[in-house]
Symmetry: C2
Subunit: 340 residues, 2 copies
C-alpha cells in the first residue's frame, strides 16, 4: 500500500480516538469529517489510543479491546482511506511508552496538576485523591504520541489546548537539553464547528448519557432517535412561534443539511409560528438517513471481513512504528542511552 | 555463553545500580560481595539502571552514559561472572517502559506520594514541589524491572523496603484484575552487614561527600584515604584508652579483615590504651591493599578491552530482553492489548 501524501515536505497531522465505544454524530462533526479532508493535504496519522483508554478503564479491559476494531470500522465507513491515512494502534508501538517514560523526567508533578485539561477530567471522572498515576501523567503520553510522528498539526477540541501547550513545553525542554531541534513543536487546530449537543439537548453527545446517534445506527434507530430530539419546550401548538436557541433539531440541520437555504427558510417559518416540530424532525430524519445510509452500508461491508480490517491496522501500525522508532532512536541517542 | 543456573526451579534474583559514579567499598559490603555469592545459588540479573538514573540526572546525561561501562568494569572486577549472572542495561529493554506505562494505571498519585522511600528521596534531593514526574513514578518503574524477570528475591537496603511493598501491591492488583497469577510477588532481603560509613565518619559513603574509597582506587589513593579515616577524636595520646564507637578504622577492619581474632585483640588493646591510631590504620591499609589489589588488577585487565565489556553487556541485555518480552506479552494479553 503506497501513501501518495508521503512527500517529506507535506505537514504531518496526528489525530485519534480512545476506543471506548462506537463513534457517533458528535465525532463525525468534530473530527471524522475533517480527517477525510485532511488526508488529501496532510500526511495523516490516526491513532486508536487503546493504551490511553486503559488509564481510566482498567475495570473494563474487554471494552477497549473490542472497540479497537469497531472504531476502525467507523473510520473506514466514513471514508478514511488507508491508502492515504496511516491508521495505527497505540499499544502496538512500544516506542510510545519509551518516549513517555523519558518525557516524564521533563515535566514536574506540580505542572501536571496545574494542567487545566487534566484538572477538568479529574473532576469529571470523580477521581479526587485517587487519581491513577497513569491518568495524571497522560499529557506526557500524548506528547509522546504527537512527537513520535513529528506531527506539526494536531486537531483538538478547545478544552484540549492546554495539552498541546504542555506537549510543546516538553519539546522545547528536550531540544534545549539536547542542544538541537530533534523534536517538532506542534500547532493545535480547533474545528470551526463547535461541539454537537446530544439528542436530549445536553451540551455533549456521549454514550454514557444515552443521547447519541451512532454512525452505524440502523434506519430504525435513527428514526427513534430523531423522534426524541430536544426542540423547544415552549413550542406547544404548531401556531406558536418557536425558538431556535438550544433547539437540537435545528442545530443538527445546520450541521448536516446541505441545503442551507432550505434550512434558513424553515427557521424563519418556525420562529414566526405555524411550523410544527414534526415537520422539522421529518426533514432532519431525511437528512440523517440519507447521510448515514452509505456510511452504514460501507461499515457493514467492511465488517464482513474483520481479517481485512485487522490487516489494514497491522500495516498502518507497522508503518507508524518505523517512524516512531526513528524518533525514539534520536531521543535516546540525545539522552546518551545508546551503547552498542 | 551458557547459564549454569538457568534451571527453571532456581529462584530469580534482581539487583542493580544507578550508574552515576564508580562503585566503592560501601557497594562492595552492601551488595557486590553478596552478588558474587548469589550467582551460584540464584538465577541472577544485575541491572545497570541508566534510565532510572536519568530521573534526577537530566542535567548530566554524559555522566550516566559514561558510568555504564565503569560500573560494569566494577562488576567484572569483583567477580560477578557473566557466565553465571545476566548483566543488562535497563534502557536497552523497551519492554520495561511498556510495563511501567501499564503499572502506572494500577497505582494512585496519593499512594506514590505516601511512599516513604520516595518521600525521603524527595527531601534528600531538595525537589519540594518541583518533583519530576518520572521521579514520583519510579516505584512503578522498579516494579516493572522486578516483575519483568519474575524475580522473587530482591536485595535492598532497609530504606528501600517500601518500594518492594509497593511493587507487590501492583503485582497483586494486576493479578486480581487478570484473574490469574501472571506476575510474581517478591521478597526483600536486607543484607546483614549494615551500611558502611564514609572515611570521614559520616553515616553514608557517598561520592558527593568525597568520603569514599573506590573499588578501582590506586595503592596511593588507598593509602591517602586510610590516613584520613575518622577514628576517635578523644584518643589524643597513644596511652589514652580509645573508643570503638563510630571509629571508622575499626568498622572497616570488622568489615574487611579476615583475621577476626587479630581484630578482637587489637580492639581490646585499643580500648585499654597504649595502641596508637597509626598502628590500627597500618593494619587497615594492609587489609584494604590486599583486598583491592586483585580487584584493581582485574579491573585494569577488563578495561583494556572495552569492546569485550560492551559485548558482555550486549549479550546479557539480549538474554534479559527475551525474558522481559515474554512477561510483557503476557501482561498485554491480559490487558486485551493483543490484536494480530
Amino acid at each position: 500500500m503506497t501513501q501518495p501524501t508521503a512527500n517529506p515536505s507535506t505537514p504531518i497531522i496526528l489525530t485519534g480516538d480512545r476506543p471506548t465505544g462506537p463513534l457517533h454524530l458528535g465525532h463525525f462533526v468534530g473530527s471524522l469529517r475533517n480527517r477525510v479532508a485532511y488526508q488529501d493535504t496532510y500526511r495523516q496519522f490516526v491513532m486508536l489510543a487503546d493504551s490511553q483508554a486503559l488509564t481510566d478503564n482498567m475495570d473494563d479491559i474487554g471494552k477497549v479491546h473490542r472497540n479497537v476494531v469497531e472504531v476502525a470500522l467507523d473510520y473506514l465507513a466514513v471514508g478514511i482511506d488507508p491508502a492515504k491515512t496511516t491508521i495505527l494502534i497505540q499499544s502496538q508501538i512500544p516506542e510510545l511508552t519509551e518516549l513517555t517514560f523519558y518525557y516524564l523526567n521533563l515535566v514536574t508533578v506540580a505542572r501536571l496538576e496545574r494542567n487545566p485539561t487534566v484538572k477538568q477530567e479529574i473532576i469529571l471522572r470523580g477521581f479526587e485523591r485517587d487519581i491513577p498515576a497513569g491518568f495524571l501523567t497522560y499529557p506526557a503520553s500524548q506528547a509522546a504520541d504527537i512527537t513520535a510522528f513529528k506531527a506539526s498539526v494536531v486537531p483538538v477540541g478547545e478544552d484540549q489546548i492546554p495539552m498541546i501547550e504542555q506537549c510543546n513545553e516538553i519539546v522545547r525542554k528536550f531540544n534545549r537539553n539536547a542542544g538541537r531541534d530533534i523534536l517538532v513543536e506542534c500547532k493545535a487546530i480547533v474545528p470551526e464547528v463547535g461541539r454537537l449537543p446530544g439528542t436530549d439537548g445536553k451540551a455533549k453527545m456521549s454514550k454514557s448519557l444515552g443521547n447519541t446517534i451512532n454512525l452505524g445506527a440502523s434506519a430504525d434507530e435513527i428514526r427513534a432517535a430523531v423522534k426524541m430530539v430536544y426542540t423547544d419546550p415552549l413550542h406547544l401548538k404548531v401556531s406558536d412561534p418557536g425558538h431556535l436557541e438550544g433547539n437540537v433539531a435545528f442545530i443538527y440541520l445546520d450541521a448536516f443539511d446541505p441545503d442551507k437555504e432550505g434550512v434558513a427558510a424553515m427557521k424563519e417559518h418556525y420562529t414566526r409560528g405555524g411550523l410544527g416540530d414534526s415537520v422539522v424532525k421529518k426533514r432532519l430524519e431525511g437528512v440523517l438517513q440519507e447521510m448515514l445510509a452509505p456510511i452504514r452500508a460501507r461499515r457493514e461491508e467492511f465488517a464482513k471481513d474483520r481479517g481485512q480490517v485487522l490487516q489494514i491496522l497491522k500495516e498502518g501500525t507497522a508503518r507508524a512504528r518505523e517512524i516512531a522508532a526513528v524518533t525514539t532512536d534520536e531521543v535516546k541517542k540525545a539522552l546518551g542511552l545508546s551503547y552498542f
